[in-house]
């Protein structure tokens, strides 16, 4: 990896006395960026140190493009955040470089042009140069909408996702780039170029490798105040409300001394997501304590750093990915007996099936986007099984259950390492009734019993008939024998 770090010359003397050796300083980088390609020849990763409030984004992005980079893959480091010691500068640049190096490109659908709102009537006919915001896009090959998943539609605070037939359409004009959909999508089909699981992990690992005792603060990208608390380093995310509590614990397991979330404004999040962030911090702390860590590793706000956890970083495969929460819980369980936390913001769930109410119609399993619920048929038995390690608490299964009002299915927002470690367990099973005519299975006995109950004594013949003939044999034998034809 060859990294070019380019800083705005206007920062010298005001925010920082001198940039460390190796940093290329360019005049007017923020307002009138020169041809970056001339100074970064050969680099495969680019990091820019700028004054975010002074940046002419349209010009800067154009310069970055001209230098051969995707602007979404070039971290912008706030010069005010790196002011301080040379060590602090090095740690921040190490993190940003790792994030930039982990960038794997963006898709055309993930860019939204934004045009200047300032416009005189005379300028109406002149086309402004836009800058671009990163927005999410759906990878249709991963999307589970065809199976009935509507998690993004239900969650999006601005109705940017709309269900159209068996597909989900994303309307980028409505998106406020909060990123809730990215962490909530049960299959990882929604991606934004401004944040990836791989990039996040790379950035945190680079920071903790460069600083013996680093605290990690997930900060809202809208925040105008850089993280300057000694020992703490900011990780920019689209919105503080999108961060699951398990990310905080993951950062600690990867080697951070502590981790927390900082919402965008002291006056509160304009879209009301600060409560989500607070709840995620509480959840992360509770989970950390359940896993044998000290509560101080997940503080409410960045402050005095706790003594760092002893031992090497825990080897985690994909802690910020779709099933990262399960991986974190299991990792915690290695040093603690009972890692169980129940809270509405739990990124994992437990499905309980009431065997008396469930008819094993399998609608829940058909809808489950992650395969946490599965059904199977073998040796005359229909089985419904559940794997807690795959459940993302998306709650898509519950409304699909025709017996939900009888309590057939319940979702508990619970992170439970023991349940995850148990792997796939049978939630319900029942024998399947076979066709008296051809011998093939008709339906689970529980389903047929439920239908008989609903039909009542008045239609007992019909119920008996349904329980003796499969779909293929019903019309034929019914017509021939004078039995009811459905």
């Amino acid at each position: 990896m060859t990294v070019a770090v380019v800083a705005c010359s206007e920062a010298i003397g005001t925010d920082i006395p001198q940039f460390p050796e190796g940093v290329m300083v360019v005049g007017d980088l923020c307002s009138r960026p020169a041809r970056l390609g001339d100074v970064i020849d050969g680099a495969d990763t680019l990091v820019l140190v700028v004054h975010p409030r002074d940046v002419e984004l349209s010009r800067l992005q154009a310069a970055v493009r001209q230098a051969g980079f995707d602007p979404f893959g070039v971290p912008l480091v706030d010069v005010a955040g790196v002011a301080g010691t040379a060590e602090r500068f090095d740690v921040i640049i190490a993190g940003a470089s790792a994030r930039g190096a982990a960038f794997r490109g963006s898709r055309p659908e993930q860019a939204r042009p934004v045009m200047s709102e300032k416009m005189s009537r005379r300028a109406l006919l002149t086309i402004p140069r836009p800058f671009y915001e990163a927005v999410p896009a759906i990878d249709q090959t991963l999307c589970a909408a065809a199976d009935g998943c509507r998690a993004c539609v239900e969650l999006c605070p601005r109705s940017a996702y709309r269900s159209v037939g068996r597909r989900i359409e994303f309307h980028k004009d409505s998106c406020i780039t909060c990123g809730l959909c990215v962490t909530a999508c049960p299959t990882g089909a929604i991606e934004t170029p401004s944040l990836s699981a791989v990039g996040l992990r790379a950035e945190i690992e680079a920071i903790v490798a460069a600083s013996v005792t680093a605290g990690i603060v997930f900060t809202c990208a809208s925040s105008t105040v850089p993280v300057t608390t000694a020992g703490w380093f900011g990780i920019s995310v689209p919105c503080a409300g999108m961060v699951p509590g398990t990310w905080l614990v993951a950062a600690v397991l990867l080697g951070a001394a502590a981790a927390t979330i900082r919402p965008c404004r002291e006056s509160g999040c304009p879209i009301g997501h600060d409560e989500r962030a607070d709840a995620a911090v509480s959840f992360g702390r509770e989970l950390a304590v359940a896993g044998g860590l000290d509560a101080s590793v997940v503080p409410d706000v960045p402050g005095t750093l706790p003594v760092k956890r002893t031992g090497p970083p825990v080897p985690l495969t994909d802690p910020f990915g779709v099933h990262g929460a399960a991986e974190v819980a299991v990792a915690l369980a290695a040093s603690s007996e009972a890692v169980e936390v129940e809270a509405p913001v739990s990124p994992l769930g437990i499905i309980d099936i009431d065997r008396d109410a469930c008819t094993l119609c399998t609608m829940c399993a058909e809808t489950c986007p992650t395969g946490a619920l599965e059904h199977g048929y073998a040796d005359g038995m229909m089985t419904l099984s559940f794997d807690a390690g795959l459940c993302t608490a998306c709650a898509q299964c519950v409304p699909m259950c025709p017996e939900r009002e009888r309590g057939a299915i319940t979702l508990r927002y619970r992170t439970d390492a023991a349940a995850i470690a148990a792997g796939r367990v049978v939630a319900h099973e029942t024998r399947t009734v076979s066709c008296e005519s051809c011998g093939r299975p008709i339906a689970p006995a529980a389903t047929l019993d439920r239908i008989a109950g609903l039909l009542g004594d008045e239609h007992a013949d019909t119920a008996r008939y349904l329980a003796t003939r499969c779909m293929d044999c019903r019309g034929l034998t019914g017509a021939m024998s004078g039995r009811p034809v459905l």
Binding site: A62, A111, P113, M115, L125, R129, P130
Partner: protein
């Protein structure tokens, strides 16, 4: 060219540029694409999000071998609707071959051209062919440029509205699948892979960009 019409004229040229690249490859055409690329490189395209995709295509076009591209073009796009690996026509992706649906899609596109005051001349590609649709968009950009040069807000607004409607009704609907099909075609050359990626990136950008321009104009004059 006045400054206010410059972007519209550049976009007009880009539609023609991409349309030309999707026509059968002959040496003269490839030379024209190279020359047009050099001209467009000075038009400030780095300001737009599709710049990287376009530059990737320029690089591929600069080293393209027409002897190898010609048979590939036939296999990919020009062996008839049933034979081509990736038919470059809207009806293939939106129409069901049975029940005259393909003809209905083509007729619908033709009807839309008529409403826009455009006509497909004899000897051109089919009305629903990607080249014809790109050409139609090029003409709508020309109208926008003329409207801007004439300082006509109303005509500018109408041209933007027509562009957005045409893009949303046609190119944005089927181009993603067309692009994916080309990317997955066996032994596809870099030239056609990056070309269809660039066209797709350009059209996606155009849809957002034109919608933004139209909204901006509507809000400012409301």
């Amino acid at each position: 060219m006045t400054e206010r019409a410059e972007t519209a004229r550049t976009r007009q040229g880009l539609y023609r540029y991409f349309g030309g690249a999707l026509l059968p490859p002959v040496p003269e055409r490839l030379a024209s694409i190279g020359a047009a690329g050099a001209y467009l490189a000075d038009r400030g395209l780095e300001s737009f999000a599709f710049y990287g995709s376009w530059m990737a295509f320029r690089a591929a076009a600069s080293s393209a071998d027409v002897e190898r591209l010609a048979p590939e073009y036939v296999a990919l796009f020009a062996s008839g609707v049933d034979g081509a690996l990736c038919p470059p026509t809207e009806s293939y992706y939106r129409g069901n071959a049975r029940g005259g649906e393909i003809a209905r899609v083509v007729a619908r596109v033709e009807e839309e051209y008529r409403e826009l005051g455009l006509f497909v001349t004899n000897g051109s590609e089919a009305p629903d062919h990607v080249v014809t649709q790109l050409e139609a968009m090029s003409m709508l950009c020309a109208r926008e440029a003329e409207a801007r040069e004439a300082s006509s807000l109303e005509a500018t607004r109408a041209a933007l509205f027509a562009q957005e409607r045409f893009l949303r009704s046609h190119l944005t609907v089927w181009l993603p699948e067309f692009r994916a099909r080309v990317a997955q075609a066996p032994r596809v050359s870099r030239f056609y892979r990056v070309l269809t990626e660039a066209v797709h990136a350009f059209v996606v950008h155009e849809t957002d960009f034109v919608a933004g321009l139209r909204r901006r104009l509507a809000e400012a004059t409301a």
